[in-house]
């Protein structure tokens, strides 16, 4: 069982990374972004395509994937979010679902509906960590999560970072002090998309990946993580991600292995999400709305 718990921490790091992007967009623009996972899928496919069709080094392909995710984020912001900004949040939510489905369809067109393999950023045999066998790539995910946490903490001390926090508290007041709301919206979506891209690029090499893989496997646990963390708390999203990863693996072990319940992983995540929404809808670190 210990192995499952340790594996859960590493799996949860990806959820946390994706959840941070969800929270950032939710805080800044009050949008539940169902396209967050596709920033990761698209990034993984762009990097995979660059490696397949060009001779660029891995790092260049990796950065290319990240930039593609950021570009997609900016495009979504310009083409979908801004025109609908005065619309109800429900319409925006549905619009992001549309963006996700469109992105999946376009990836299928471009890369065929097949499972692909992306080489890991750090290769090597599994390492034993606290008694569990872990891929070096998974350790990289955890390191990336810590680096992103530190980077964001630094970012929120800058003027621009403060402005992002401010717009989540009072969008009108940010206009009163002379901050350009369009610029802020771009920063938030670009940053969130970059984080989503990073999550996808780090997750893809852990197994095989298909079009829409981040939406199919990672988006809902990341939502659960964000909700568990309170939806507006960035540290909550990090911690929530790891907690969901651990709980999911615990579920796989207890329900799946011991009791042979099918779909134990999904069951655990949905059960936890429901339980949080029923018992403590403001999340563990969030404030009551």
């Amino acid at each position: 069982m210990w192995t499952f718990l340790v594996q859960g921490v590493f799996q949860g790091a990806v959820y946390g990374l994706l959840a941070v992007g969800l929270v950032l967009v939710y805080k800044g623009t009050r949008v539940f972004n169902f396209a967050q996972g596709e920033f990761g899928s698209v990034a993984a496919f762009v990097t995979w395509g660059l490696l397949l069709h060009t001779a660029v080094p891995y790092l260049v392909a990796f950065v290319g994937g990240l930039l593609a995710a950021v570009a997609m984020g900016l495009l979504v912001e310009r083409a979908v979010v801004r025109p609908l900004f005065a619309a109800s949040r429900l319409i925006l939510l549905v619009a992001t679902v549309g963006v996700a489905l469109l992105a999946i369809a376009l990836t299928v067109l471009a890369a065929q509906p097949q499972a692909r393999v992306l080489p890991p950023a750090v290769a090597g045999e599994p390492i034993t960590v606290a008694g569990a066998s872990v891929l070096p790539q998974q350790i990289l995910v955890l390191v990336a999560l810590a680096a992103v946490a530190a980077g964001l903490a630094g970012f929120f001390r800058t003027d621009l970072g403060l402005a992002v926090l401010a717009v989540s508290q009072d969008p009108v007041a940010t206009r009163v002090v002379g901050i350009n709301p369009v610029m802020l919206s771009r920063v938030i979506w670009g940053l969130a998309a970059g984080l989503g891209g990073l999550a996808g690029l780090l997750q893809a090499p852990v197994g095989i990946f298909t079009p829409g893989f981040m939406t199919a496997t990672t988006l809902l646990p990341a939502f659960a993580a964000a909700v568990l963390g309170g939806m507006t708390s960035l540290p909550g999203a990090f911690a929530g991600g790891v907690a969901i990863g651990v709980a999911q693996n615990l579920g796989i072990y207890l329900l799946g292995q011991q009791l042979a319940v099918p779909g134990a992983a999904e069951l655990t995540v949905f059960g936890l999400l429901l339980a949080v929404l029923l018992v403590r809808p403001q999340g563990l670190l969030g404030k009551a709305a």
């Binding site: 003027d159 403060l162 401010a166 007041a173 009163v176 002090v177 002379g178 901050i179 350009n180």
Partner: protein
Amino acid sequence: MALLEVRDLRAGYGSVPVLHGVTLDVEEGSNAVLVGLNGAGKTTTLLALAGLLASESGEIWFDGQRLDGLDARRRVRRGVVLVPEGRRVFPALTVAQNLRLGAWPRRRQRRLVGTALARVHGLFPVLAERRHQLAGTLSGGEQQMLAIGRGLMAGPRLLLVDEASLGLSPKLVAEVFAAVRQINADGVTVLMVEQNAGVLAGADRAFVLQKGRVVFAGAGGDAMQKTLWTAYFGDPLAEPGRR
């Protein structure tokens, strides 16, 4: 030429017109007050001047240049700064962070920002004491001081102050008004919207707004009775004492 010249300004919310042609002049260095009943269009006027509400027609001239058509950000850069109704401080940021964001248009001019901060702390010592406190935990009076201080951080030439006295005790109202008078004495032109008639006594100029139009414009102190009469009884010609 006045610092602010507003000509036949019309604005509203969606299909509901509120301002039906507001015309007023504010001289540089003066302390002007806009009074009127609820719904007369006082806040709407300030929002339109600050660029938070698009005007439908009319002209806004500031220091000889057209302002209407510019977004809020550009107006703040030119020195037209709003202290909004209800304070609207950033509740989950500290006092210091709120003030720092107030200086957004000139955030790279560190020395100017430092000078402005010292001035705000001089004007409102409580903001210096509480600089690490979250703005949402301040009292109403302190939040109003923070809202005014945040406005000063931008380096305004014209400060638009919307209902600074709302919800404050008489003692705090006096403090806030004294601070605004000091800001004006330091060279910032002030246009205040007020329900509190006490502010008229010290004003250089007063405008009475009624149903989206300026129905009376006159010197502050002397006009107090007239403006009050107009504001509350509606007919600018039916002054008290005139039979």
